[in-house]
Amino acid sequence: MKNDYILEIEDLTVKYITEDSIVSAVNNMSLKLERGNTLGFVGETGAGKTTTAKSIMRLLPEPPTKIESGKIIFNGENILEKSIKHMQSIRGNKISMIFQDPMTALNPVIPIIDQIAEVILLHQTKDRKAAYKRAEEMLEIVEIKKERGEEYPHQFSGGMKQRVVIAIALACTPDLLIADEPTTALDVTIQAQVLKLMHDIKESNNTSMIMITHDLGIVAEACDNVAVIYAGSIVEYGTKEDIFNSHAHPYTEGLFNCIPDLSKTESELIPIKGIMPDPSDLPTGCKFHPRCPYAVDRCSKEEPESKEISDGHMVKCFLEHRK
């Protein structure tokens, strides 16, 4: 399994260029995802999680977006060099995406079975019968009775709709599934169902997955590796154990300190001071230094390199406070 990467991102920089500002959404991001693994993208609103995911899908409108530099290597090929036509054959087929809001992801006037069959017809087969048979199978996989296939999205609850979205995303057995906050719009008991379902399907198909979330609980549950993203860069990257048991970056530490923990009786919340920096006017040096409790002079002047502190555990910090 060593070196079998489904996805490698090298030095990706994405900017939104508008009339009066340039927003740096993703800054020199690099990461690798092993086949069959789940990588969690953790970060707050505006950190660049969704932008990264959408650049992998090449779903960003250009302009105003501009992929300034970098490579996205999927299955050994740089997809940033592919034509739109080629990308259309990859999207929904080899790479699929699940969006946050299941309410708007489905077309309200088409029965759900047709919406599932549509992707299959587009990518896999021209045989309508086979496509509909596969669509029915998919419904069963996501635990919806196939008789309900003729119904319209509004006849389903939020959790059921998200199952349909998952069925569409997985209909062509993609190699990579990108889930953008797939359970944020759902209730906890429904979230538990959907997470379990996604886990089971992933296991049986050996799909690789990127799970975008702001909930460390979901990361603990569903991911193998974790990338903590702040202001468009990965500030810490490692296995789940590295991040939960021996995190080193002050931002990661801050994230853990500021969430109330259901399993602890008394806990005081230590918020991270300040607010997310404006991505069109990022601070110099380390992007986190204005909010960092350990910041020293050097942090505002130079940008730290990502360094490996133990096998595969990367931290983008000078770690002066640990010396």
Binding site: A192, F244, L255, C258, I272
Partner: protein
Amino acid sequence: MTQKLLEVNNLKKYFDTKRGKLHAVDDVSFYIYKGETLGVVGESGCGKSTTGRTVLRLIEPTEGEIFFDGIDINSLSQEVMRKKRKEMQIVFQDPYSSLDSRRTVYESIEEPLRVNKIFNNRTDLSNRVFELMNTVGLAERLVNSYPHELDGGRRQRVGIARALALNPSFIVLDEPVSALDVSIQAQILNLMERLQDNLNLTYMFISHNLSVVRHISDRVAVMYLGKIVELASYKNIFINPQHPYTKALLSAVPLPRIDLKLDRIILEGDVPSPINPVPRCRFYGRCPERKEVCKGDLPELREIEAEHFVACHLI
């Protein structure tokens, strides 16, 4: 902690829909002691927000008594209620739609003071606005900003300042941190705790996020389909839950820890429709522990030990 500030008895709110009566809040009774925080948890559609708004009579209740400071506010006229509301305020979930995008921070905070004619000169009024901004930790330079120029946390601070403007003693917090990022969420939670201590406030904290509720509440009510299924001190709810729904809800929360592996109770199906519900335990259809007896009548909310109420036939 012994005086009840708010006491709600048999509160009902039904909405007429095309398909029948929607039982949003169905015979709910609870009380809140002075100075404490009652957390109300439940999934979407369980009636927790409607309960919060009905208690303030922002939505008129269908039936029931609401005693605030010993007065049944449900019997007050609209005009008297409008004056009474100075003592009872609300902070909303969405800091984006709860502020008028065309009004500056100053105008938003000033509004309740102006419409209630609290001050008769401008200096006092603006002093009070700045004082409120300081109280909630908003920099004075933001006074002329419009909501879209602020981040979610600051907007929520404006919402809190507006609620505090009339010196209320009771505030309904309707999912006040759900729309915020975790790092900002902690700032706002800490702020609200500080305000509670300093200003001697009583909170009704509505949220779907159990971790947050556990953090801030003294007592917790768990709601399911318009009913309170369990009501107890936060310790009892989180350490010794009795109702099967409370247990399932607690076990469904993904914990940000990898050293704990819990047995998760995964509930089947979805929350059923609150329209014309069958008069039996609302949780019957999804309950993993259901028995023959549960097919019968609605279970009453009973006190099984001091200050621990459960509505379940099996306990």
